[in-house]
Amino acid sequence: MTDRNLDAAEVVTITVDGRVISLPSGATVAAALLNAGVPCRVSESGEPRTAFCGMGICFECRAVIDGVPHRRTCQVVCREGMMVETQR
């Protein structure tokens, strides 16, 4: 038995910092940001940061999703048409 959660043939398309990105459906926004090569947020002292713990603990993957800041992108599944921006 395989562990196929969602049909891998299905894709979802979202916008990351103005770029259109396609991912297998079920993918998280953190994965979209990594695939786009875009940081999730800029730190207090101005460093670019990307997802780190991958499990909702470290908050490094916070970004702006559909205008709402501080969303932990590793815990959010991509939905068609989502607008994601680096949190500055």
Binding site: M1, T2, D3, R4, N5, L6, A8, L23, P24, S25, G26, A27, T28, A30, A31, A32, L34, N35, P39, S43, E44, S45, E47, P48, R49, T50, A51, F52, C53, G54, M55, G56, I57, C58, F59, E60, R62, V68, H70, R71, R72, C74, Q75, V76, V77, C78
Partner: protein
């Protein structure tokens, strides 16, 4: 809105699923709350595409699905107002919901321990389990060169998975010396299934060097990782790579247990033979009671589920296997104990609190003047950012012996507007109007 259940289980990993299945089969009305969008916990995290079949997982999930227990994914416990209730935040709905329970089973699992080293905040450096989770949920690492460094059996499992996902594993670097791993190998004799699993990983990783007594001293690069500097204590060298996966074994997630007042000693929730905590209505199973892995979690979860349903007698047959798994956990902790060299890798300008960008030099100066965690927080804001010290806390406990004893609600940050308008604490929050 409040939902009422006989038993609420927090955590849909192995312990939580086993506990919920046992309780629901015993006739209880059971809810399982988990902050993640999918069940399985970190170890069995579901996601995109296919994984190798894992029979323990398939069996546990099938048993859970047919048990009648209800699953609430994406619900994160943030507070408890009255005895017998939990307040949860649902991020996708941007709102709070309360769950009432007669008995609670805490199965909150563990997180990775991280230690600061120069360059560990560079994009491209990930937690080992973290990188695995991100790949499972859509991060494409085909052709990427990955250096893996840290400690614990997780490193091998992660390496095997990343390779299967198309990455090129440059090297796997285990800080523990070979002598301790050989001792651990003997301790595994009573657990043949774990040996076969280990051999399986090694076969898959043929061609990638696995080194012992070796650790990462620095992640190199400017705005992006370009290589990892490694050391075996005699010499240092750099291996070029695109990504790094690091992790220093696991830390139990005990914040909810602490908030509810359960007795915790040395970072581990104290339970009796029925997995009951110091609070009669609260049980705890899996990693929060001591890191021992998935088999221990499944057994403890089932025992907790039966005991919480008034059927502790039925669980007695599982006690022997539980003890043997606990022994395995202790052997594992000894084998993968951290070497002191790891505590002095950070330089004065190395960021240690990633949320507030507090640098190691500031903290080291405070430690030299006998400061504790609370004082360091007040002076530097270390541990006061969004993660509430979940990353830097265990690191600084390992390095300076500082212990974070203050857990308070909300357990995870929620919007102030929600706190003011929806929280059952609404009446407590009074903002004086001048």
């Amino acid at each position: 809105m409040k939902r009422a259940f006989d038993i609420v289980v927090v955590g849909a990993g192995p312990a939580g699923l086993a506990g919920a299945s046992a309780a629901a089969r015993a006739g209880m009305r059971v809810a399982v709350i988990d902050e993640n969008p999918h069940m399985g916990g970190q170890i069995w995290r579901a996601g995109v595409g296919t994984c190798h079949p894992n029979y323990a997982k398939v069996r546990a999930i099938a048993s859970f699905k047919s048990s009648g227990a209800e699953l609430y994914p994406g619900y994160q416990v943030v507070d408890s107002i009255d005895e017998g209730d939990l307040v949860t935040w649902i991020d996708v709905k941007r709102s709070l919901e309360t769950f009432g329970f007669k008995r609670l089973i805490i199965a909150t699992g563990a997180r990775e321990r991280f230690l600061p080293f120069p360059g560990w905040t560079l994009p491209g450096v990930f937690g080992a389990g973290g990188l695995q989770a991100l790949v499972r949920t859509g991060y494409n690492i085909t052709g990427k060169r990955v250096v893996i460094a840290g400690t614990g059996p997780l490193l091998l499992a992660v390496a095997a998975h990343l390779k299967q996902a198309g990455a090129q594993i440059v090297s796997i670097n285990e800080q523990a010396p070979m002598s301790r791993l050989i001792k651990f190998g003997f301790a595994l004799m009573g657990h043949p299934r774990k040996i076969f699993q280990g051999i399986g990983y090694c076969t898959q990783l043929a061609g990638s060097p696995y080194r012992t007594g070796t650790w990462a001293v620095e992640a190199e690069g400017n705005e992006k990782l370009t290589g990892i500097q490694l050391s075996d204590g005699r010499r240092t060298w750099t291996e070029p790579c695109d990504l790094m996966a690091c992790g220093f074994h696991l830390v139990p997630n005990t914040e909810l247990s602490a908030l509810l007042g359960c007795r915790i000693i040395d970072g581990v929730v104290q339970v009796d033979e029925n997995q009951q905590t110091s609070i009669e209505s609260i049980y705890c199973a899996g990693e929060p009671t001591g890191i021992a892995g998935v088999d221990a979690a499944l057994l403890q979860g089932e025992i907790a589920g039966l005991a919480a349903s008034g059927m502790a007698q039925k669980a007695i047959r599982l006690h022997g296997r539980r003890s043997s798994e606990a022994e395995f956990g202790r052997a594992m902790s000894q084998a993968f104990a951290l070497r002191p060299e790891l505590f002095s890798l950070a330089k004065p300008d190395t960021i240690t609190c990633r949320c507030e960008d507090v640098r190691f030099g500031q903290l080291n100066a405070l430690a030299a003047s006998q400061a504790d965690w609370t004082y360091a927080k007040l002076q530097t804001r270390c541990g006061m950012g969004s993660c509430q010290g979940r990353v830097c806390g265990p690191a600084l406990e390992a390095i300076f012996g500082w212990r974070n004893n203050s857990v308070r609600s909300p357990l995870f940050p929620i919007p102030v507007a929600t706190m003011c308008s929806e929280s059952p604490r609404e009446k407590e929050i009074s903002i004086p109007i001048p």
